[in-house]
Amino acid sequence: MAEKSPQELIQIDLDPPRRDWRNPSVDFESRRGTWSYPAAAKNIEYMGYANPREWSPTDDDWQLPDNWQQIIHEGFKERLAKYRSLRVFMDTCVRCGACADKCHFFIGSGDPKNMPVLRSELLRSIYRNDFTLAGKLLGGFAGGRKLTKEVLKEWFYYFFQCTECRRCSVYCPYGIDTADVTMMARELMMLVGLNINWICEPVANCQRTGNHLGIQPHTFKDNIEFLCEELEDSHGIKIEPVINKKGAEVLFIIPSADYFADPGTYTFVGYLMLFKQIGLDYTMSAYASEGGNFGLFTSHDTIKKLNYKIYHEAKRLGVKWILGGECGHMWRVMHQYMDTMNGPADFLEVPRSPLTGTVFENARATKMVHICEFTADLIRNKKIKLDKSRNDKYRVTFHDSCNPARALGLFEEPRYILKNVCNHFYEMPENTIREHTFCCAGGAGLGNDENMEMRLRGGLPRGNALKHVRDAHGVNLMSCICAIDRATLPPLAEYWSPGVEISGVHELVANALVMDGEPERTVNLRGEPLKEEKEGTTDV
């Protein structure tokens, strides 16, 4: 073997020679840490998806069906006829480059194929070749290319490197939404059996048990009772959680991570403390025990399938309306898809806060209210008493989660709440919040541990902005309203901005919430003393 010169040794390995992006090649073996494991056959089988098998992207042979090109071609054709979005997004891009440097994965990785325009071109080049006159006549000149196995492998690599955060869409002069393109590409890949396990397992679990983690009803109940008892031990506040109660006024839907993973559990307890204090007549459901919906990262049909249980359960329990907890992609589904897919919810009533009388006009049809809208209304109408100083040890910033930001526009409600429950609140730089917010880089099913390097790369822009407020204002807590964020931001912060913890908004609400007859609080929900101990004070 020829000896490598020092110059060659320090050459960055970003897929040289990359003269033209249309010649694909992804070396999965050398890029471990940046892709996710494929779906286990049992999950594919359970969901009835195509081509269940055990395989690895590092294999030469991906065991595709013989007519895989035809399957994708037909699938593409079908979707072009069913979605105007796909048609328009395939036709209108002018490659102006406005989106190019907006993707957190491009910023962090430096890999040019992570520019959103190129991500879409992966699909668009096939569209041109197969479905446009110019592409058929002029081929490569018009930007068309044939769908080869190499192209498909590249699809798998890059479409499972998009977190569907929609940041690029904000800057696109034609509103091209790469999230939508990614969703279509993932649907097409699914037709020939290319899925990742961290998406398909939660999907299969959710279909069977009602939630991503596969928690069965007895464990669900145990878990919640346990969290309530823990609270009673630490705070002397007794909560009787309500599950599967018929005739309750409100059905409360939450992401399962809130009752099964830290730090979501603190937020979960926070919700229940608030409900107890205001005396809300609510119920949770052991059947609809998941608000999240990984169908969003799988296929439109799966979204509908998994979302079915929400209205179904609301009807069975006979509630009046639905309240939803803090979760990002769950809210994209509830807001943009649920009513269309599984509505109309004509058996429910227009949501009206029993405490303030406020009618939530913005949820008139879907009948589902975001808990931040609900709580902001409570605070505005002075229905709860808050002691901000209980959060004084925190210097707080707020991370806008992608979906509430760019699919709803839920910006002011959580901020209004935070400003009312803590004394120290600082915004991150303007082009990293609100509609410009940077993703946690673990959304859309990519928050698995084998993909950690890619997540940390993509997490750099958020981590960097966080570090800025940490250094400038001493921020030590980043609050957010997304369960995936609460799972993926702690590693991100640990690596890019150590010393910052992650919380939900309602954890801070519950800390500040003055409850009737409660013993004096000395610790917050995490069991930490409310005030920083002065140095030299004795430990017990």
């Binding site: 190019a100 491009f106 790369r457 750099l460």
Partner: protein
């Protein structure tokens, strides 16, 4: 011992080093790294722009390379997660040697070899920082699952045992 280098030379050295580092990225990324001045939109380029000069100054002043390498933490931290082999991730330090030869080639041999030695020690220290970053990534990966769900499950299990009157020790 402080190695004397005129202000111009020193600036030239910093910018040559910077050029060599960003020049190793694909051309389209290089352009972005150079041109996007916004530190929040371009954290990688920004770290390079800000953190190289103090290291060069420190090397010339003869400061401890271990301290200097921690000044490169931001740069190395990024390289530890980007798509490059360990040799490439820390090898950018060696580029400084070549940059120095190009800028200060006619300096006395003593000065040149002193500087080279310092760069080499910086390289070793940089490798330590890189290893720490990598170890941290692996630790994060392992701990993530534990922190997320296992902790809750452990607590839950002992609570269950206690409730069932099992072997849990109650105070």
């Amino acid at each position: 011992m402080t190695l004397m280098l005129s202000k111009n030379r020193r600036d030239e050295l910093v910018s040559l080093w910077y050029d060599r580092i960003v020049g190793r990225y694909p051309a389209e990324t290089e352009r972005f790294l150079r041109e996007q001045a916004d530190p929040f939109a371009n954290p990688v380029g920004c770290a390079l722009r800000e953190d190289l000069a103090p290291v060069v100054d420190g090397l010339l002043d003869g400061r401890d390379p271990v301290d200097l390498a921690s000044g490169l933490d931001r740069v190395i931290r990024v390289r530890a997660v980007q798509d490059m082999r360990p040799s490439a991730a820390v090898g950018f330090v060696l580029e400084l040697k070549e940059a120095f030869e190009a800028v200060a080639g006619e300096e006395p041999e003593a000065v040149r070899s002193a500087f080279c030695q310092r760069v080499e020690r910086l390289l070793l220290a940089a490798f330590d920082v890189y290893s720490q970053c990598r170890e941290q990534i692996f630790a994060i990966r392992v701990n993530e699952i534990r922190n997320r769900s296992l902790k809750v499950m452990e607590r839950l299990n002992s609570w269950r045992e206690a409730r069932a009157g099992g072997p849990a020790v109650d105070a």
